[in-house]
Amino acid sequence: MEILKCEGIKKVYGSGANQVKALNGIDLVVNKGEFVAIIGASGSGKSTLLHILGNVDKPTEGKVVVGETDISASNKTQAALFRRRKVGLIYQFYNLIPTLTVRKNILMPLLLDKKKPNQEFFDQIVKSLGIADKLESLPNQLSGGQQQRAAIARSLIYRPALLLADEPTGNLDQKNSKEIIDMLKLSNHNLEQTIVFITHDEKIALEADRIITIADGRIINDERRR
């Protein structure tokens, strides 16, 4: 069952002589429950693709359908609500709000919708991510690994069907990287979430069910491993 479909996505920055084609016709289908790694050299367009999939950025051309919604046609408010409810985004530098506690950071998407969290689910997430004792700390009081766990917890709190991660282990040591990938795999397995993540690390990419390689804004290889 398709959860994500891209048709002819192009993204162009600048104009005239300064024009840069970040994506040059990407066609991609991701099925529900897949664990996909996107790899590629710096400047290949993988982050741009992920941002477009997460409705953080808009394609210059093409169509992106998540579930049954064409997100490429959404306005700013619709895009925001999509990011809040439909996808979980994880960044290399965590993007936690430095003035809020870890607890508030995790609950933020729900708080924005004025929804009460399911305490059982919240406890389960923070316990499994190993940050239950850090909930009242501020992000700058945590280590990088702990901050990334908090960012993952935040991305999971709305139980999105699709989780997008932009180099989630890029800023972590080997041990923490392994743990984060294990957690994503667990989430993929237990919550049946579809996960698309970007990585530079081939070893980590090998943990995925499918590896997509991008170069010069195009998919040059799409390998299903399982």
């Binding site: 990011r83 809040r84 993007n95 809020l100 998407p109 004025k114 009242e136 700390s137 700058n140």
Partner: protein, 733 residues
Amino acid sequence: MWKDYSLSYVKNNRSSSVFIIIAAFISALLLSLLCSLFYNLWFYDVQKLKIEEGDWQGRLVGEISTDDLTLIENYASVEKVTVNENLSDEQGIVVDVYFTNMGNVFTDMPKIAELAGLPAESVSCHYSLLSLYLIRSAEDPALRWIFPFYLLTTVIACLSLILVIHNAFAVTMSARIHQFGIFSSIGATPRQIRACLLQEAFTLSTIPIIVGNVLGILICMGVIEGINFAMTDVPGRLVMPFRYHPLILVLSLLATVLTVWISAWIPARKMGKLTPMEAIRNTNELQLKRRKQSRILSLVFGVEGELAGNALKAQRRSMRTATLSLVFSFLTFSFMMCFFTLLIVNQNMTYFEKYQDVWDVMVTVKNTDIDAFTETDALQELYGVESGAVYQKAVAKRMVTQDEISEELQAIGGLENASTQYVSAVDGAWMVNAPLVIMDDTSFLAYCEQIGVEPRLDGAIILNQARDGSDPNFHDRRSVSYLVENGQTTILRNAGQEDVSVEIPVLAYACQVPVLREEYGTLDYYELVHFVPLSVWKEIKGQIGGAKADTYIRILARDEVDLAEMEDEVSGLLSRGYQAEIENRIQAKLDNDRMFHGMMAIIGLFCILLAVIGIGNIFTNTFGFVRQRKREFARYMSIGMTPDELKKIFCVEALVIAGRPILITIPITVISVVVFINMAYIDPMVFLHEAPFIPILLFFLAIIGFVALAYYIGAKKVLGSSLIDSLRDDTTI
């Protein structure tokens, strides 16, 4: 290298430099205005004092011969010596001594006296004049605050400005911490970084400092001319044109340069101290050191309120200037408006309303005794004069025995309660002040008719009232009768020689006073006022003496008469042989209002300046933090916050910044006003009727408007930026 780097930065980052330019300009303008204004005020005080008391520095009184004078004149530090003919009399010669260096006056005057064979008591110094040159003596106990006040205010202004503007430098410098981290990592010393930043600050500040100083002088010129214009008619005021001295320019330039230098040095020092890693890692992020909660904002505005509250707390240090200056300006403005309104209400109650039916034109005939004044009849016959009273005041004493004191006065404690400054016990009786009001005969006869006694010119009418000192309400004083009304005569005594007395008949004991612009028993509650006709005064003045220097004329005009015209007519009549100061009731009210409004305008200007600093600071923050706010808001957007929710955060922040002054100001102002109303016995409804709600509201709306504008521009910049670019910033660090 630094020169190239700094010049290139200044050229390519004009928007961030603009805050430094504004900060330096405001400092220069304010300090130059302050210095010029204080110099003019000081100069006015000096000139006024010289005219009123003379420009002498030291004075000798005694038997001084021509030889002595030559001796004094030849004393090393003495510039000149003059004999004061006006003060010299048979008791001794008064010699005014002027020194080349005024600072020598206290040390040299005793030596000069000794040289001239005069005792130490013969020496006096012009303490009030000398204090204006900051020359003080331990022997002068008086609190001469003018010069120290000017100095202290200037120092406080410099310190406040440092507090206010160092933030503008800090924001601009902090924007480049990362760059300085790189410099530091490749071997730039803290001293080099500090020097580079200071060099930049001075490059940017030089022109604003010069322009601000010049503009400050020009504004001061306008203010002085404005004050002169507004107070032209105020009696006894000197009209002093604007003055300036090159030393003041040097002083204000020094003060400005020092202020700007310290303001730039504080953040530059901090930047220099950062280690390379601290500087390179610095993300300019809003960070909280420890967990804080914005309960109220969170409760009222939800999660957006909490985020706004936390952002404000994280920015607290950099916003401190804005907060302080906005709160202080609004507080000062509200306080000043209320205080002046209270003063006006109070003055209306105690003066203008109280005396509005008592006088229309008032003349002070300088250095003239009433019996020497010959224009009384001509004055009373002038067209338009309903009634004209000519009077002079004199001091005298009177003995009051215990038997004479009324039962009412005895019931409230009698004269035992009186201050010994005014009443003294003498041989079982009391010696009290008995001020005389000597009226021209016609007016005295009219007064007799007014109180219903047979008009006569051979005695005195005693104001038989003593103020009840236990009643603190000075607007509506409670009085009791002073004497039992059985004395047929009153014995007045010379105030200087109490054994010299004169006995005159008492025509009446009255509770009503004649229609004069006078107040009785204000300081001395137990003075026994005697109204006497000129005819009696002529007979007793030889014994009683004590007449004050000036004679007064009180004129009530007919309804249809223009008071300014009448003033001119009286002035014309008195121009032959009298030196007179004339005021009319309406003009006096207008002058008084103008004076109040002038003062309000000056303080208002100061408040506006403070508000401008505060708002300027908010602009600095909103623009200076655009980069960090971009990232902050990108984070909010990345987790699904909608544009409306982001705008709500900005609105809450703006509301808190603009609302804080009112939340702090209103309780303080209300409490102060209530205290003052109670102290001054003012009817709260009268105050409420006159209360300056509209100017305060307008000032507040202006603050809200400008804060909202600053946030609107800032928000537009942040919200208009690309989410992807803002997030990408992270990965470039």
